[in-house]
Symmetry: C2
């Protein structure tokens, strides 16, 4: 009996999963390796961070998704190294897996632009754990403000800074504004949550830099309407327990804020860097691996890079953005190439990214969308956003009710999942300043 072509896929995100599913009926044997046992629906992560959804609502167990796909084995494990000449992947526990084709879809990690100490004070929204940590931080800030001894202290606890006005930054600041003005409206006795300051800082001259200018302006108007202060052309120079220091023109300013959230850039993961080293591949400044038009690494036609780790360009030589659509189409393309190779065909048209549209959500009934050149904003954009996400999540989870429930809570401004978890929910309380009353 002929041995099946073995495909090892690293990462069960949008790209990896698309590849695996596309190869469902292919004459291959697949091993999908992921550090986590679930596929995460990243675009709704900010809903977990802001207490509208539970982690389980936006994640689908990989085994469940692939349970009937008999040519695929799912393994919990973390790849740390690769031997591209022996065609072998090495996991952190020493286990090795040989492959005929390798699809690397390990994604990216948050970049603090060299200031890793900021991470402690300004979590980002990359993992479920960070999302729940952000939720903890936000809700805890209001609790702490309620128990503050001085006006200044309460003010610092009620000041929230979001760094970076890309899609994530817009989502987070919009949701935070809604929490302060609506969700927590009646919940406190000493403080007024509506007095919370939510400040969105952006280095560029406009928010949502990836969108056309008119939609940027529209988005800024929408988020400002929710009560968010937008500060543009600003450079953050330090983040600490006390708050944010930033440069605006020549002036250096300080802002007392106990809650800072990081919605800045991303960079390659350690595994991505290791892979680049092993294959002597070129990378960009962010560590992304420059791939050939067929998404393989130069000299290694059996290693595909898809999603955030790939530096691929479109016809105008512009790099493709790190979004779910690019990853999913890349995964499907890699699967097609592998099938062609097995069938003996070597020449295939290069990967072409077909952009179905870009969307960013700001708040309830507030979003912007750029779809085939049509610029849409407000409620229509939000409905499109809702629909697209609904379709996807239903496909993966068969959990229609999650969305109904969430829509229901959205309308009623309630947030059922606003728990502060973690072993010591009260440990943040500054023990050096005993409050007495």
């Amino acid at each position: 009996m002929e041995k099946n072509h073995r495909v090892v896929i690293l990462g069960g995100g949008f790209g990896g999963l698309a590849a695996v599913m596309k190869l469902k009926r292919a004459p291959v044997e697949m091993i999908l390796i992921d550090r986590r046992n679930f596929h995460l629906f990243q675009p709704l992560m900010y809903q977990v961070a802001t207490g509208s959804l539970s982690p389980g609502d936006i994640a689908a167990p990989l085994r469940g998704v692939l349970s009937r796909q008999k040519n695929t084995q799912v393994l919990l494990g973390e790849a740390t190294d690769v031997d591209p000449d022996a065609k072998r992947v090495i996991l952190n526990d020493g286990a090795t897996f040989d492959y005929d084709s390798l699809i690397v879809a390990t994604g990216s990690q948050t970049s603090y632009y060299g200031n890793d100490s900021w991470r402690e004070w300004a979590p980002s929204l990359k993992s479920i754990e960070e999302a729940t940590a952000i939720r903890h931080k936000i809700l805890y800030a209001f609790e702490r403000a309620e128990r503050a001894d001085t006006e200044d202290e309460a003010r610092a606890w009620l000041t929230f800074v979001i760094v970076g006005a890309g899609a994530t930054g817009m989502e987070l600041s919009g949701a935070l504004a809604e929490i302060a003005t609506e969700t927590l409206r009646h919940d406190f006795r000493k403080i007024n949550p509506q007095e919370a300051r939510i400040i969105l800082m952006e280095g560029a001259a406009r928010v949502l830099g990836a969108f056309p200018e008119d939609l940027s302006a529209k988005a800024e108007k929408l988020v400002t309407g929710l009560g968010v202060e937008v500060i543009k052309n600003v450079m953050v120079t330090n983040i600490s327990a006390a708050g944010v220091t930033f440069k605006r023109g020549d002036a250096v300013q300080q802002l007392a804020a106990r809650t800072v959230l990081w919605a800045g850039g991303v960079t390659a993961t350690p595994f991505g860097r290791k892979l680049a080293e092993r294959t002597r591949a070129e990378t960009d400044r962010g560590g992304r691996i420059k791939v050939k038009p067929d998404l393989t690494i130069p000299n290694y036609p059996d290693i595909f890079i898809i999603g955030d780790l790939a530096y691929a360009v479109d016809k105008e030589e512009k790099p493709l953005p790190g979004v779910a659509q690019v990853a999913m189409q890349g995964g499907a393309y890699a699967a097609k190439v592998i099938c062609a190779h097995i069938a003996g065909k070597r020449e295939l048209p290069p990967f072409h990214y077909f952009n179905k549209g870009d969307m960013a959500v700001i708040g309830r009934a507030a979003a912007v969308a750029n779809i085939f050149g049509f610029h849409i904003s407000g409620l229509p954009a939000w409905l499109i956003w809702l629909f697209v996400h609904l379709i996807y999540i239903v496909e993966f989870q068969s959990r229609v009710l999650v969305f109904i429930q969430w829509g229901f809570e959205y309308l009623t401004f309630s947030r059922g999942a606003r728990l502060i978890t973690g072993e010591a929910a009260t440990d943040y309380i500054d023990k050096s300043s005993p409050a007495s009353r």
Copy 2:
């Protein structure tokens, strides 16, 4: 203006919350202090541990529940000491709160009967964090079995022991059996989840010792029918990473099991012990404080103990069980007494516990119930159980959909929330035994 009577309530569980809500229209000023910002619906905790519900589904933010109750302030904090003569509560951050009446509803914590080292290997089901840790442990065991090198290793990962066959032990073992035989049925390639052994160990001669004998027998039959092995009259003598050592008659046996869950007894919390010390109150072996018929501590008519921390007796001098009903009725009673005191009335009938019925759920459409002497089992008992819990959770959360969703998943055997979270999901992997393939 006359100063309002100030009631400090420690703990926002079933007892504390019942007291607070009962005092909604009373001429008092209340401060509810809890270590967590949410009320937890403990009876469904096993659903979180077994991946059917998310933490947010069984918890209601205390501020949300009490948001319109203007005479109540909710504070996040942990009481560590009390000065019963100065009528003052002290928190761990040094803050103090004076009271006119104090309601202590701080509950209990898990007791390992003096073997605290077992905690590391056998988590219990007391907090949301423990519930998610148990979920992690269970799901991870199947992952590890799939990657095991030897038959013995796989067997140890597929052996689950639950210690204690009270309500929690029955729930956990029943749910575990359903996970193995139904939920994960098609999810693995090397192992067969249906071959998992689920062993329920009990020191007494029957399961559900608090129930009448016929219902115990019925419950054992139901849980055995799900595939659980019940071992009674057994004494656990050690729990380690390798498994459980136990005595059965004179024979000492060892069982290799990588997953052990503790559903044993409870004991007083450190605060409970401190309170007993400060008030020189009598306690039982488990540290519960012996209260007067009006639920106050002898010599301190302004300190009420309700719920798990109270050692109260019924007319037959039998101690009341540590269940939600007792706590809720105790809370309502304490509120009534406080109102009477304010109105100048001193003599009140003693607390009388009215038992509306006892229930234990074993699995899908499988439960036992003892309601006003009627012994019910199977589907009818399960429907009653479902109905009672539905009413309660809807009342607190206004989240009807949670239950609909859960019922839906229950019928389809899907478990949307089976995530392995925590910073290092793969760190459990034993680094000393590299697997190679």
